[in-house]
């Protein structure tokens, strides 16, 4: 099993996300994360998909995606040729027993406190998925109230772009 990360440039039209996810569901592709975002032009949106599987699963997924007329371009990202990050918001119960530990972990992970009340602390962490996984793992020792993470977004390093060969 390999972790794959691909970006799919799609025409910015109603229902496109639905077409992509419907194909994933129908053909039983197991997706780890999926994000949709605006791009440099309003003609296109960009879907970033991460998933684990074998090489031929990835080839199949890419070939099936290319069959959707709204898909314009697909780019696979290798970890050392791209930058990736995601964002985590995590709400911890605020109590005397754990407050200091949470705060120490937050400092170590460069997490930002974005909201603080007597009941809860909301922390924001950005970075690669692995870092976020690790932070969540640490927090499991305390009282997690809620988690929300965005999923991965990626860009290729250097001057190349998804639309440029």
């Amino acid at each position: 099993m390999t972790k794959f990360n691909i970006a799919v440039l799609v025409r910015d039209k109603a229902g496109v996300l639905n077409r992509v996810t419907s194909m994933f569901r129908r053909r039983r592709f197991n997706i780890d994360s999926l994000t949709v975002s605006e791009t440099e032009t309003d003609k296109y949106s960009r879907i970033t998909v991460t998933f684990s599987g074998e090489e031929n699963t990835k080839d199949q997924l890419v070939a099936q995606l290319y069959k959707l007329p709204d898909v314009v371009k697909i780019k696979e990202f290798k970890p050392d040729e791209s930058v990736s990050c995601e964002l985590l918001l995590i709400k911890m119960k605020n109590d005397a027993a754990s407050r200091d530990d949470i705060s120490a972990a937050a400092t170590a992970f460069k997490a930002k406190t974005v909201n603080y009340t007597k009941d809860a602390i909301i922390l924001k962490v950005t970075g690669e998925s692995k870092k976020i996984d690790e932070f969540i793992k640490l927090m499991r020792d305390y009282n997690i109230l809620e988690i929300c993470r965005t999923g991965v977004v990626s860009l290729e390093v250097g001057g190349e772009t998804i639309t440029k060969e």
Partner: protein, 555 residues
């Protein structure tokens, strides 16, 4: 010139070369039907008995001609009635444009009367679909739909047009017929690799799929086989791509394939697959399938090549163009030893063949063969009768076998036959079964009204024979709900619809009835008695391998 959306739609269909559409009117397409009335001298509309029949007719038209078939239905139930037809076309890669009406744009999402999200419903069974948002986009959307339906690996496209868009006015400027996306041959590297493997083959086998029909590559496929002295077999979808009487042709292979064809493929050291999917009905147990052979898979759909994984040498391109480049790279050879082995398979097949002269499945189809012209389209429904037609019917011209393969849609036959007639204007044949015919016999009305010269050969075994066959073999003869035991008088029924018919119990009667049927300029049904215990043989049990093939059913 400003035209209403519905006029623009019909004008665009005419512009795209559509001469006939199949459909059924209703509230949300009434404007479109008004436009069809207006332009009736330029485009014919065939009213069917049911939208499913219309979808199958558009599909049959497309299979027989290679052109895009068009079907029109109203919103709600009209649209949902198309679903089986669209799915049938999708699984067999048939170019189809389905046009549905829908409620006004401002009512969409409110569960208005007969509102249904047909674009949502058909998402996984279309190549693409559209809900038209404005009249300005309508003509171009229709053009794009034709382009997508017919380009590359063809398939169905649905265009949903809300009522207000049909009414709104906009300029219509006629445009030329769309051109399909340019086809290309596979890469030189892939072709060179394939040539290398083929040149080393000792026992090559050419396996023809439906893609050969789409790519119109019959001559190239035969030239390939001639160059390397290979036998040719085909998938169910490839039937009619190679003339049945061609000396290299061994017939269909797969679950109910010809013994010699299946055995040759099994013993081949190189299988060259042309536009064929390695469906489970073809491979049986995939792990045991063609274990000793190298597979070269030439296909226009890259995703199809990948499905078989790494055991396949993919050659991704149009079949005809790719073969044109590949064949010159091949050594012209003869392979007498391999041919001898193939001949032995043929002898074995002949020995096991059905030699009865009484009225059985093989005699029925063989007798039918005597009356076919080289261009006769033969449509079928689904079941044993379909497999018998696939095994024994003679084809001389590509695109003359009109049958639902991938979805296996009982009820396809009548619509498919009617569409094939409109596409070819040939006296058409439908081979059907008593179960399947019960699902689509309402279209007798369509065939009679439109004076379709149609011979319906109903192989009447009184049972859902194909399911019963499985029950016999794998379910201890528990004939659960497969014995029809109906009191339907098919002769009287056909006459009630305005056609003619005869019941036959012997080969002589069948012969006479066929003669009459083919000289009747209209619908003629032959209710042909077939024993309920007939089997489709050989049979590769589901999930089995070539070693498990059933050639005879023990008593």
């Amino acid at each position: 010139m400003k035209l209403s959306g519905s006029d623009i739609l019909v004008k665009t269909l005419i512009e795209q070369g559509v001469d006939v559409v199949f459909g059924y009117p209703g509230g949300q397409v009434i404007n479109i039907y008004d436009s069809l009335y207006k332009y009736q001298d330029e485009i014919q509309h065939v009213l069917t008995a049911h939208e499913q029949g219309a979808a199958h007719a558009a599909d049959g038209y497309a299979r027989a001609t290679g052109r895009v078939g068009v079907v029109i239905a109203t919103s709600g139930p009209g649209a949902t009635n198309l679903v089986t037809g669209i799915a049938t076309a999708y699984l067999d890669s048939v170019p189809l444009v389905a046009i549905t009406g829908n409620v006004r744009t401002d009512q969409i999402g409110t569960d208005a009367f007969q509102e249904i999200d047909i674009a949502g419903i058909t998402l996984p069974i279309t190549k693409h679909n559209y809900v038209v948002d404005s009249v300005e986009e309508l003509a171009d959307t229709i053009r794009e739909a034709f382009k997508i339906a017919s380009s590359g690996r063809p398939g169905p496209v649905l265009v949903d047009i809300p009522k207000d868009i049909q009414v709104a006015k906009f300029d219509y400027v006629e445009q030329p017929k769309i051109t399909k996306d340019a086809k290309s041959a596979a890469s030189d590297a892939e072709i060179a690799k394939a040539a290398e493997i083929i040149n080393e083959a000792e026992r090559p086998f050419v396996y023809v799929g439906g893609g050969v029909l789409t790519s119109e590559a019959t001559n190239e496929a035969i030239a390939l086989a001639d160059t390397i002295d290979a036998p040719i077999g085909c998938s169910f979808m490839g039937i009619s791509a190679i003339p049945t009487d061609h000396p290299r042709y061994l017939g269909m292979q797969g679950m109910h394939g010809h013994f010699a064809s299946s055995q040759s493929m099994h013993h081949a050291d190189v299988i060259i697959a042309l536009g064929a999917r390695f469906n489970d009905r073809v491979t049986g147990n995939r792990a045991k399938f063609a274990k000793k052979s190298k597979i070269i898979h030439i296909d226009i759909d890259k995703a199809e090549i990948g499905k078989m994984g790494s055991m396949v040498n993919g050659v991704n391109g149009d079949i005809k163009l790719t073969l044109e480049k590949l064949i010159p790279l091949l050594k012209k050879t003869t392979k007498p030893e391999w041919q001898k082995q193939v001949d032995e398979f043929k002898v074995k097949e002949a020995a096991r063949d059905d030699h009865r002269t009484t009225l059985g499945p093989k005699m029925a189809i063989s007798t039918l063969n005597k009356y076919l012209s080289p261009n006769t389209p033969i449509a079928t429904d689904v079941g044993q009768h379909q497999m018998w037609a696939a095994q024994y019917a003679d084809f001389k011209t590509p695109r003359r076998f009109i049958s639902s393969g991938g979805l296996g849609t009982m009820g396809y036959g009548m619509g498919g036959a009617i569409g094939a007639y409109f596409g070819t204007k040939e006296h058409t044949v439908l081979v059907t079964g008593d179960g399947s015919f019960g699902m689509c016999l309402n279209e007798l009305a369509t065939a009679v009204t439109n004076n379709v010269p149609l011979v319906i050969l109903l192989l009447n075994n009184g049972v859902l024979g194909m399911v019963r066959q499985w029950q016999t073999l794998f379910f201890d003869k528990h004939y659960s709900n497969t014995v029809l035991d109906r009191k339907t008088d098919f002769v009287a029924l056909t006459k009630a619809f305005g056609g003619d018919a005869a019941r036959v119990d012997t080969v002589e009667e069948l012969d006479k009835a066929l003669e009459k049927a083919f000289s009747t300029n209209g619908v003629f049904l032959i209710d042909c008695a077939i024993n309920k215990d007939e089997f489709v043989l050989p049979m590769l049990p589901p999930g089995g391998s070539m070693d498990d093939i059933i050639v005879k059913v023990g008593d």
